[in-house]
Symmetry: C2
Subunit: 281 residues, 2 copies
């Protein structure tokens, strides 16, 4: 039987394999400097940190290790958000009193410490992550400052859960941390309830479109603006309604530089939940 | 830095991602019941056995563990041959006196025991592997007998190296074991000397074609016959010479049910060697 960390790694691989996943690297599409094989290496490299999280080691340190390992390829940031979203779920699934549920994951989030927050910040030193400027009162806590922000964190006594709460209004991954992983568990159910004969990666691509059609992708907001993200969601809805072929939408998003990365992160976390609950590949 | 076992796992993933790899599952092609995602799960599942081999645990037991883990997906045999070819290389790379060279790998082969052979046989119980009928005097040692063949092995005192030597005339993986992994190291050099801007998986696909053009694939001999295998090699040579588009050859092989699996196994082992020697992804 695959271990908890193996399921997390496999989820990352199945996520990137799923196609069409408009705007993202997938089995059929590379970006210029960010290619399918970078995601393969990223998933394999993240494994040590996933093992640590499943073994109950501190969440922030596990995350930092996963990101450092993920970064050992030439594509840059492949799975930062996916790993951040998976971490509390992996910890919940790996715990002795295993509780892979929204409540169990929320309990992991609640238990995070200031040290976890510090390691979260340190993880940003391993890889360039696209983020918005923080609100002015948060400037000292800009994640791009990496470990330079740690004294400010410690002064204010902020845990990783506190940091996520402060970003939840503009970052979809942070929002999942705060809101009990509602979208993640919903997408897991969607994948699980798909045609069992349909490849898992294809069911994951379906879930991607459903998620994007339901809610704007905050990574698109960061890279472009809210209008672009709202338009991307409208287009995803059109694809879901059969008004545009998802393959054509994929070409359209690539041409426009639309990359719904947070939605992909959610699918990776959902695949992990589904695999842990027995989804067969 | 990725561990030895992580590089072996990543090599399996890069191998299946490389395209076009005429006749095999690759990033762009599935077979009906054997799909890309089965190879992803196979590579992840094999990891425990790869970890064991890198840590110096007995080779046969490590292989059996790798195959059992690999088999936890619905596609059946995805990487049996690739793992068998990787094992001595992984052990050589993981040893305290690390010697990832033809000589180092040959020394590992030489050191195998009857117990390693027994676990090799047991590995056949985890998954259906296409093999030829053995010569009559070897009937008691038919691998398809699995652990039922172990008493015969023990009676004759055959090590895993002995078993490989007895199959080298009809199995390309066994031949590599016997002949110092000559093709594997040659293909590793070919991948390493490719254009560094060209994706690693594409360079691996190039190496696949070169290998197939140079020598018949014994898996094709097993599945069809020698004439079919010789014809496949001629066609690969034509593709290499530019007389046929490799993408068209891929369609041709799929239509004919030609699946040069042993050549793919060699590429997976070659990718491992190249990654261990510093190939960047």
């Amino acid at each position: 039987m695959r271990t908890v960390a193996q399921n997390a790694e496999l989820a990352l691989l199945l996520e990137v394999a799923g196609t069409p996943k408009p705007g993202n690297v997938d089995r059929h599409r590379d970006h210029d400097d960010l290619r399918f094989e970078h995601f393969l290496a990223g998933a394999v490299g993240a494994r040590g940190g996933l093992d640590a999280a499943a073994a109950g080691e501190p969440l922030g340190e596990s995350f930092r290790r996963a990101v450092e390992g993920m970064s050992e390829q030439r594509g840059g940031n492949t799975q930062f958000g996916a790993l951040l979203l998976q971490m509390p779920l992996v910890a919940a699934a790996g715990a002795d009193d295993r509780d892979l549920s929204p409540g169990g994951a929320a309990a992991v989030v609640e238990s995070t410490t200031v040290a976890d927050a510090a390691n979260f910040y340190r993880a940003f030193e391993a890889v360039d992550v696209a983020v918005d400027d923080p609100p002015e009162e948060m400037a000292a806590l800009d994640v791009r400052r990496g470990s330079d922000a740690v004294p400010a964190l410690e002064d204010r006594g902020l845990t990783l859960a506190d940091i996520m709460a402060r970003s939840a209004d503009r970052d979809g991954v942070a929002r999942e941390w705060v809101e009990g992983f509602e979208r993640t568990f919903g997408a897991a159910e969607s994948i699980e309830s798909g045609d069992p004969e349909r490849p898992v990666a294809d069911r994951a691509a379906d879930a991607f479109l459903e998620l994007l059609a339901a809610e704007v992708d905050t990574f698109v907001v960061t890279q472009h603006d809210r209008a672009a993200a709202e338009r991307a969601t409208e287009r995803a809805r059109a694809a879901l309604d059969g008004d545009i072929d998802p393959e054509d939408l994929a070409e359209e998003f690539v041409a426009e530089g639309i990359n719904p990365g947070t939605t992909a992160d959610t699918v990776a976390a959902a695949l992990f939940v589904a695999l842990e609950r027995g989804l067969e590949v």
